[in-house]
């Protein structure tokens, strides 16, 4: 819900982050090292596989049949080793390049976030549950190589990990061709929903694993009549996200909850969404969360989750490429989640098979509205996931 701006301007928590000249230079360089890995070396890796490695194996009668065989064949190749080490180190440096400035800004950030949590100038709210037991699949490893991940708390009312993830991600995507705007995934899904279901007017929207709500905020403007809710198990990212939303003048209700069993009543939401979420949770949890989505959705409600394309939807080489993160980016559930058919997961959770779906939708920032019209008419395909398109799955509630 969009509210009127308050009389007193709300400070932006992100403006408290003031890196030095040299820190800014470091962050800018790390964005380019990250691009070297994820664009340039990724292309060299594929070219070398297709033009040299695969034909060689083929000649020897050992053409790789699946992604595991490709991984085995690539593991000892220079091109793979250097791509991997540059990508891994760049990932670490995204976060290390912003940490000193977050440390300096922390007292002021904590003070501002606490004040906004008390005042809620935009009309949102922040409901934390200090007794919530964090799931082991969240605490066992620091996901994405972010030291402290999304959940660690270092001081009272801490927002540090929210800031590290937010600014680290700006470095991460600084030179990424399809991640130029924060929240572009939420923006793309919201845009697609409005085109696909023009008369859909959700009263309440819920984002699962919302972290600091970057991909939730676009729903506030896409569906201005709706009440907007975001949940996560990690308090620092929720505090940070709440401060950001209040600054933006967006009334968002953040609460610290477990998506497997929320405290919302049955049928409370017309739209349940998530992005980059399910591949971070244990498969057992994924099944429970999808059942919870069924419980939370009102009649004629809709759920749309942006995720990685499942194994069956893409060729073996792409599976090899995506599954790299499982072991090398501390995302242990990645491969197991991708091995499942998301439509089958929806059906198991109780959704109607004929109303469950998976598809690629265009990234609205790079695809543009005119071409999106053509996509909706079936005249243009969506670009592939991560290179101009986003993979989504979900279901309509009967």
């Amino acid at each position: 819900m969009v509210t009127q701006p308050s009389e007193i301007p709300v400070p932006n928590i992100e403006e408290l982050f003031r890196p030095t000249h040299d820190e800014r230079a470091r962050q800018a360089m790390v964005s380019f090292i990250r691009k070297l890995a994820i664009v340039d070396m990724r292309r060299s890796l594929k070219d070398d596989f297709e033009n040299r490695i695969e034909p060689k194996l083929d000649r020897e009668g050992r053409k790789p049949a699946d992604w595991q065989a490709i991984e085995k064949a690539m593991a000892h190749e220079h091109v793979y080793r250097f791509y991997s080490t540059v990508r891994y180190n760049a990932q670490e440096m995204c976060y290390s390049s912003v940490q000193p400035a977050v440390e300096r800004a922390l007292p002021a950030m904590v003070e501002l976030a606490s004040d906004l949590a008390d005042r809620n100038p935009a009309g949102g709210s922040l409901r934390l549950n200090p007794k919530l037991e964090l799931p082991k699949y969240i605490t066992a490893l620091d996901v994405h190589l972010t030291p402290g991940s999304v959940h660690s708390e270092h001081t009272a009312d801490d927002v540090a990990q929210g800031a590290v993830v937010s600014f680290g991600n700006k470095v991460f995507s600084g030179q990424h061709p399809y991640r130029k705007r924060a929240g572009v995934v939420g923006e793309s899904i919201a845009y697609w929903i409005r085109k696909k279901y023009p008369s859909f007017r959700p009263r309440r929207i819920l984002d699962l694993g919302t972290t600091s709500g970057k991909n939730l905020l676009p729903y506030c403007t896409a569906f201005p009549q709706a009440e907007i809710y975001g949940i996560d198990v990690a308090a620092p990212v929720l505090r940070y996200g709440h401060a950001l939303a209040e600054y933006e003048g967006l009334a968002v209700h953040f609460s610290q909850q477990h998506a497997e069993h929320t405290d919302f009543p049955d049928g409370y939401f017309d739209l349940v969404v998530s992005s980059f979420f399910f591949h971070e949770v244990a498969l057992k949890a994924t099944r429970k969360i999808l059942s919870e989505c069924k419980r939370l959705l009102a009649s004629r409600g809709l759920m749309v989750h942006m995720e990685l394309p499942d194994e069956a939807s893409v060729p073996p080489y792409e599976n090899f490429f995506w599954n790299w993160d499982t072991r090398n980016n501390n995302e242990p559930w990645y491969t197991a989640f991708r091995a499942e058919d998301p439509v089958a997961l929806c059906i198991t959770a109780g959704f109607d098979a004929s109303r469950s779906f998976k598809l690629l939708i265009p990234d609205i920032a790079s695809f543009g509205e005119a071409r999106h019209e053509q996509f909706m008419r079936g005249e243009l395909p969506s670009p592939a996931h991560g290179v101009g398109g986003w993979f989504v799955f979900g279901a309509e509630r009967d």
Binding site: H21, D22, R81, T85, Y88, G148, A156
Partner: protein, 98 residues
């Protein structure tokens, strides 16, 4: 941990989880970290020098405070981005596969 005053927090620099090895000799994995950090440090130094040169061109003098307060225009940032791209291309020159 939560008792630490906010102005004394030192964030963890290591992430929890096993670090993968990409090379047969783990020393190369370690060397690549040194290499990438050094690549970044050279770029930082170069950018600082660029700021000094630009300040001298504009004002004829330079102070540490002026360097700190310098924010590049979109045009300068575009020039710097071209340099960053070309610099990485020069340094990370892969041998042809054999």
């Amino acid at each position: 941990m939560k008792d630490t005053p906010a102005d004394q927090v030192r964030l963890p620099r290591e992430s929890k989880g096993k670090r993968p090895r990409f090379f047969d000799d783990p020393a190369i994995d370690q060397m690549m970290t040194f290499m990438l950090e050094l690549t970044t440090e050279v770029a930082v130094l170069r950018e600082r020098m660029d700021t000094v040169e630009r300040l001298l061109d504009e004002r004829g003098s330079v102070t540490r405070a002026a360097i700190e307060a310098y924010y590049p225009s979109a045009l300068v940032e575009a020039e710097r981005n071209s340099w960053r791209e070309a610099y990485l291309k020069r340094v990370y020159r892969m041998h042809p596969p054999i």
